[in-house]
Subunit: 412 residues, 4 copies
């Protein structure tokens, strides 16, 4: 463990209660030494097994962390959703879907899982699918393709990431299974690059060095609709971020994804380097690190900390039992010289459900009247979804057609 | 098609823009006559193949609908997530998990999919898992058990549901495959009831008659944290509603669940009767109905309407790219006779991310001062999550310890 | 162990060296107490675990035995090839093949293994296939069908076999998995009888009581082309016996059939009652008995004794490295007053290879001559295959056409 | 079709009825033009699709043939059982079994079929198993290893075989799937050679050029216990020949092996070049050739001709319904001056069943006497199996001990 980091962190905790809460979580799991370092890549077996860190980056761009959050390690499979996002940005979601599917394989990470009919790997988060996806990234040769991959992941992390050459050499030397997957994909016609090129880029991508803080920023970029909340750079489209999160939801934890979604409820992706990213969409991204793995190749303490975090902090993505806040800030209703008047102050983002609230209110008010004046103050509205615009427009037109005067402040 | 229903609906659309939007969606898909009625249960092949309806119920309890939204049909597999919820309420999530898993099976709905080691069906939404789950519901005999199932689904729908006896008889007469699954589950030790009892309850549960409106209310009950938003009855715990949605996310659309989550992004469950429920958590529930099925047993027009709805109305559950609204309504900052003073007005639900906003604001304000007075007006706070309470309490204590006077209005 | 049987056997060994050899084989394996009694049928767990017997019946109808060769036990899956033979006799091989396949399932005995496309069980020696096969046997009801099964197996054994009612009741009470297989087969349309009827016959068939001697006679009936060599009754056609042996070759030892064929080389079938039958076609049948089973459900000592027997006695069906005996007993060749004369004495069964020998001899003799007299003495020929008749006829006609006089003694 | 070859053949048929019979068989299937040339190796798609030949070589070393029996084509997968035999000769059957199993895979020829636990390919006749087996052959490098493979297959064929370099280049260029299998096997630790070395040898082995006559001689070498019946060279041990035939029996025709064994009953192996070998152990080997393949990669007319041949000529290996010939040629029984005398003339190969005949005869004769003289004339015995020797010796010792005088002529 990095004692310098810990001392510093303790100081910060004195004044940062989020970091303090994360630190307590680490403490609760620190003594668990079960599991083992990944050994199928010899170089991975040389890291300090006790490393343990966590970081949380909100969509407001603030990061809290605890433990060895600045210890470097290789990203491994945590790179997969981000490389999927890169390919989807370059080629479009539909074109990528012609080469790799969306379905959980129900099998381990290194499973073959090529569709019997189409030859497509089951999804981009198993090795076969990740190799195919990585090979879809544009570029004249392997070097150029990898440069793009590195640039994209660096943009997600908000700093330049480098390759651990010793790990890369080790992956390359022991990569028979991944080469097999590449040959199978090529034989099925879904891998367009030569096998050696494809595996070189893939092995390099897995050997990129990150810290737990990097992972939290990368995760927050997905949480924030593709905009890195620290650098404020737009790294990918909202649509690609959404679909990437969807794939992490159903396929991110291999053949344990269903239970993970039920118990933890945060789209996530683990790597055999010991890192895990988890995302609460539109809220925050989390990185955790602990290199001892369970039989499925997931970080044991990392998974457990995320489950505790989700349970104690009620972070399950579907755990929003309160009614959404009404968009109606204030409704002033009085009878003036020109008859009944209504002033409706609305705010925030207008989507289907909030527009429906406004529409229902207006229709109810109008239902008991034959005429009147309505003023909608929408100056506090932050964004209007297309569906909301259409609902409101239709309602207002209907009101006008039936004898009401309607004015609007602000764009709807 | 039921022309009376349609005429009525058109009238309503005149004044209900949500229903009008739904009606337009139906129109866009009405001409698609591909697919076929389910025929493995002979009675299902007798329904009007052209039936087509949709309904949307918000967590505020309002329902909009279009098309044949009041045409009765049998619920079939749409019953499965609700019976899972009932079993989870009675026995707890962990005890149910001892009998049935959480993982997608990667196989068709009637697949065998019993875990080789434990004999557990893969998840509660395939037939094997649904039969096992249904048999976990308490009761002295099959009749009593079914009474509980019917009562629970009726509470979700907000009205008493009845069995279509002709469909039940047809299911019972052609139920060899389901009886096989029950025998397998019993032989594996995960089915505790006699096979005939278990299948009787299961066949009856599948034969319950619902309308598309019923489905939208049932879905809205899941969206609303287990509280039926129409009747306001608490039908299940928030936790059970959350886990039920998680299972629908990974397993709801059989071996198509990953693509469904990527493209539509709404936890859903289909039935061979032609119905589908879909949920946007904490927002609304949807029911759709069209009895012509694709090769996987999913309603073709129903699936397509949901995909169009999600795309046009931007309803993907992970599609919230805007930053969440700040909980800080107003911050008044002035220097008075007693030094610097800050009045912070916060509102809404305080969870991890909104508490972190408040904490960050307070810490930044205090960082440049050695003393001062802070007044937090939390009277507009609707609910405080435990994690938020802890973060705020720790921060306020720290501020007081370092020389600030802090007062709070309202409970935090 | 049955000491009376042993004493008697020892006496016989004094003068029966085959039995003595079998006895030595038992001794070599007697001390192996590994494995366990079948316990999924409770009644099977009540037998003496030390029972150990062997019997060998030649196609000449003589039986040698050693150990507990007269201890009764239930036949279990050893019944399957014989019930297949009965169905094939009644319906024909092709009609049975429409309901059940010929391929090894690569899976355990109780695997589901229904073909995805046709619903046919993989082969008649797994449970699913055996249930379907048993239900193909004719008869008005379950009782009548079972009477035929019992009569057929009794004819193979050469004595009336009876049901162990306690084992039958135990099978019936714990038969969930087999009922599941029957329901699946029925749902796939390959099982024509009601499930309860089918499983009743199947459970009764498995509960028939046999001794090791019975098994050796049953096996010898298959070895002897369908004729019981003891009673000399024709129980099945040669063709059915041949195909039954072929199925035992590829499917008889479940997912161990390939290694069994490589190492032991005798078509065989085991049962969880502890019995195994093995066959050396046209030579002999063997029965062995020892109720402790390995993880695959095969008798451990039974399998080992058969492997030792095959190795020591060189019994592998493909282990006939000597050239087959020539059919030419004598060839007298002299020059008489009418020119060159040849007398050729042939004997035994004339098949393709032996007819080819005769033809080659005749053609070589004639090749250096332009005329001559040939006398074929075929009075010692036991049987002439059609192909041999055609080859000889064509050759003789050709010889006559080119100037030779040919006479034949005996039918060719 | 090669008309010259046909004319020649017709001439021969005039005097060779076996070839004439084969020719008639070809005629019966000649018009079937269903199926297609293998196209996944482009070079294979360039052959004459109408080529059609058959050859039969007996263990006496005579070959009859018909059709295009001397047309060259590449051996492809027909090489696999012979390379297995080579590896088994070099390393022993048990050591090879540590790297590749004996079980049918129930899957197509290019299936992955590596055992989940051990990584062993299912059997040596699927591609994965053949690559692993080929890599077990000794030699310092790929060239040396291939020289051994070519020498061994040439010894089986009785002439030097050469590589079709164009086919080799085509296999090498399109070998992604086989390279994948090799990488998988290497990653599982069962492939010891570098992938490129292993696939080079494998692709060369598959590209060896043979004729149908060659195949029949190679098959006859297996039939003849490992001795090439034409050259009389001992190519492999009897044991290896036996085990090779056993593997062909259970795995030779891929996932059609069970039906093949039931219907045709001749151990066989097909190749996508259009060739098939089939063996009737201790009788003859057959080669057939027709390059149009079915969906499983088997020659359509080749398979059909073999089935017709087996049915019409009654060649099923288990189809020996006649009792085996008695080894007892003559028994002279008279009472002389020294009491009862028996002269027993025995001949042929004495194995378990024939020795049992002799022993039974002797015991029966002695049973009614208290003394006598027995003379066994074994001068016509061609070979005595160890088990027979032991049975006879024990019997004779027993007779002598109980007062009989026994003399033997010839070795027993």
């Amino acid at each position: 463990m990095n004692s310098t980091a810990n001392e510093r962190t303790v100081d910060e905790h004195d004044v940062d209660p989020v970091a303090a809460a994360l630190s307590l979580l680490l403490d609760a799991h620190r003594d668990d030494t079960s599991g083992a370092l990944a050994d199928y890549i010899p170089e991975l077996a040389t890291v300090d097994p006790d490393g343990f860190g966590i970081a949380l980056t909100s969509v407001h761009g603030r990061t809290a962390h605890a433990g060895d959050a600045r210890t470097p390690f290789t990203i491994q499979s945590v790179s997969k959703p981000f490389v999927y996002a890169l390919a989807a940005c370059e080629l479009g979601i539909d074109e990528v879907a012609r080469h790799v599917g969306f379905e959980p394989s129900g099998e381990p990470f290194n499973a073959i899982s090529l569709d019997a009919a189409t030859g497509r790997p089951a999804n981009p988060l198993i090795n076969a699918g990740a190799i195919v996806t990585s090979a879809l990234v544009g570029g004249g040769d392997a070097e150029e393709r990898f440069d793009r991959v590195r640039a994209f992941l660096s943009a997600c992390a908000g700093r330049d990431l480098d390759v651990d050459e010793a790990v890369y050499a080790s992956e390359d030397a022991t990569g028979d299974r991944n080469r097999a997957l590449a040959h199978l994909a090529r034989s099925a016609g879904v891998l367009r690059q030569p096998v050696d090129d494809a595996t070189e880029v893939y092995f390099r991508q897995c050997s990129l060095v990150v810290t737990t803080e990097d992972l939290s920023v990368m995760a927050a970029t997905l949480a924030n609709g593709g905009v890195n909340p620290v650098t404020e750079a737009t790294v990918m489209s909202e649509r690609v971020a959404t679909v990437t999160l969807a794939i992490m939801t159903t396929c991110g934890m291999y053949d344990h994804s269903g239970a993970w979604m039920a118990r933890v409820g945060l789209p996530a992706k683990s790597g055999v380097g010991g890192g895990i990213v988890a995302v609460n969409p539109s809220q925050f991204g989390i990185g955790v690190y602990s290199p001892r793995l369970d039989e499925y190749g997931n970080s044991i303490r990392g998974s457990d900390v995320l489950q505790s975090l989700s349970e104690r902090f009620e972070l399950h993505v579907f755990d929003h039992p309160d009614r959404p806040r009404s968009p109606i800030v204030r409704a002033d209703d009085h009878t003036g010289e020109h008859g009944d008047e209504l002033t409706l102050v609305v705010r925030g983002e207008l989507d289907l459900i909030s527009a429906e609230e406004v529409v229902a209110f207006l229709r109810e008010w109008a239902a008991t009247r034959t005429a009147g004046t309505i003023h909608v103050d929408a100056s506090g509205v932050s964004r209007v979804r297309e569906v909301a615009r259409r609902l409101l427009t239709a309602t207002i037109e209907r009101l006008r057609a039936t004898g009401f005067a309607v004015t609007i402040d602000g764009t709807v």
